[in-house]
Symmetry: C2
């Protein structure tokens, strides 16, 4: 049986590209929300699910971080994709005809400077970059252009008016491949969620365990818990495999100080 | 001359409520993006601007954090608003007629569980909760409901089908009031942005300065810089006023270790 991968649909997004990198052979199950991707893997409708975690311009994806808090799924891999946004329009369109640019709010934000440079142009939010491309195509929106990956131009018969229109040359999105089980290949990184008491030095003490074991943190983010602002949990990523004794010893010390502790997984990086 | 406050428009959002708390007398300048709020205050079209920073369910507002990195504006106050979402529809609508729920993506995410409980209902993103209410009203969308604050129901002549429909009882949004100058009232909190070398213990060392001075951190968030993922800066909030010598001494030590350092302001909290 070939594996199945749940992906945030529709076709033609960077999520699909990430899924292809993780497993080019798998059959794809397209979902309408990040929620649904988690749900479909939890219920066994797919072996793996691909969710966006973080973008180098926009920061964390709140829905994903929130769902990681409660899911029984593990992180099996991280996939980092170079994002190159394109401006797509109906064939025959010219740049000077464009009065409206539509896309996912993150993509619009990443191209803020470029859109401004187009002059008197409105923006409109759509649920995904590919749905923006589809809307231009299906509704025959002359005067509108979608910001979307090149793959969406082929899919919906659009012209690429401009390529690489993001404000910063280098723009990467990090995805997690989630699964009920992960196999036991080599792992380079580990992600944990940690709750700490709200008092001076609580975080400092915990980071000391990592520093003294010479473990490099690659991400730390406090987020308000669902109770009230001010009561925080921490999302921490670091280099190392939780199954190594050196790392496991640190995690046991961390856990002893935590009000909440969850290892999301140790995983390899797919470049 | 009365003060002017720039706010993310349209009328009838939680941003307007935050502005009213900060200065009920000020005249309001409605802007179409967070970008424009910053811009209008930087250019002197208003004395202050209100921007959302963080929500207790959804986490940080990426656009605001990004603009804080480069703006010359200071944080003059933080305003914390209790968010109570309502389901608004055309007068005469019944719950069982609703086939679509529209709102800002954050509001939809905050009401995810409630929307699921409505059964077979689609969601659609709009740029703000108030624009969702306006769309239902102006387009006479029977079968659609907007998730928006109660104030939007009055503004657009809609019926409140349900109140407090967010999944968690307590849902707060934190706003900053920004200004070119802030006056010198008492300040309870300070926000800084910090760049550090990417190596084990770098953050630990810096947090030690705060811990030893008994200064409580209320937020820490690493964010990828605009160069590439993995190269991080930190947004840190803590209790205390940067103009106090005790706090100033800590900040001088922190600055000496930082590759980037910016004090965004010390400010009072408006509850």
């Amino acid at each position: 049986v070939k594996g199945r991968i749940s992906i945030l649909g529709p076709r033609g997004t960077f999520s699909e590209e990430a899924a292809r990198r993780f497993d080019p052979e798998a059959s794809k199950v397209f979902c309408s929300s990040i929620d649904e991707v988690f749900d479909s893997v939890e219920k066994g409708k797919a072996e793996h699910g691909i969710v966006p975690v973080e973008n180098s311009l926009e920061g964390s994806v709140a829905a994903t971080l929130q769902l990681l808090l409660t899911t029984p799924l593990r992180i099996c891999a991280e996939i980092v994709i170079d994002v190159k946004h394109c401006l797509l329009a109906l064939p025959g369109s010219r740049m000077e005809d464009i009065r409206e640019v539509i896309s996912h709010p993150h993509a619009l934000a990443q191209c803020r400077g470029y859109i401004k440079s187009l002059g008197d142009v409105r923006t409109r939010n759509l649920p995904s970059t590919a749905e923006a491309a589809r809307e231009v195509s299906v509704k025959r929106l002359r005067g509108s252009a979608a910001i979307a990956p090149r793959i969406a131009a082929e899919l919906y018969g659009l012209t690429v008016l401009a390529e690489g229109v993001q404000d910063e040359g280098r723009n990467q999105t990090r995805f997690f491949a989630l699964g009920r089980e992960c196999g036991d290949g080599e792992a380079e990184k580990t992600s944990i969620i940690l709750g700490l008491e709200d008092r001076p030095g609580a975080l400092y003490k915990v980071l000391g365990y990592f520093a003294r074991a010479n473990i490099n943190l690659t991400k730390i983010e406090s987020r308000p818990t669902r109770k009230s602002l001010g009561d925080y949990i921490f999302y921490i990523d670091f280099e190392g495999d939780a199954r190594e004794e050196r790392v496991g010893a640190v995690l046991r010390k961390v856990r002893a100080r935590a009000t909440f502790f969850k290892v999301l997984g140790s995983y390899a990086r797919i470049g």
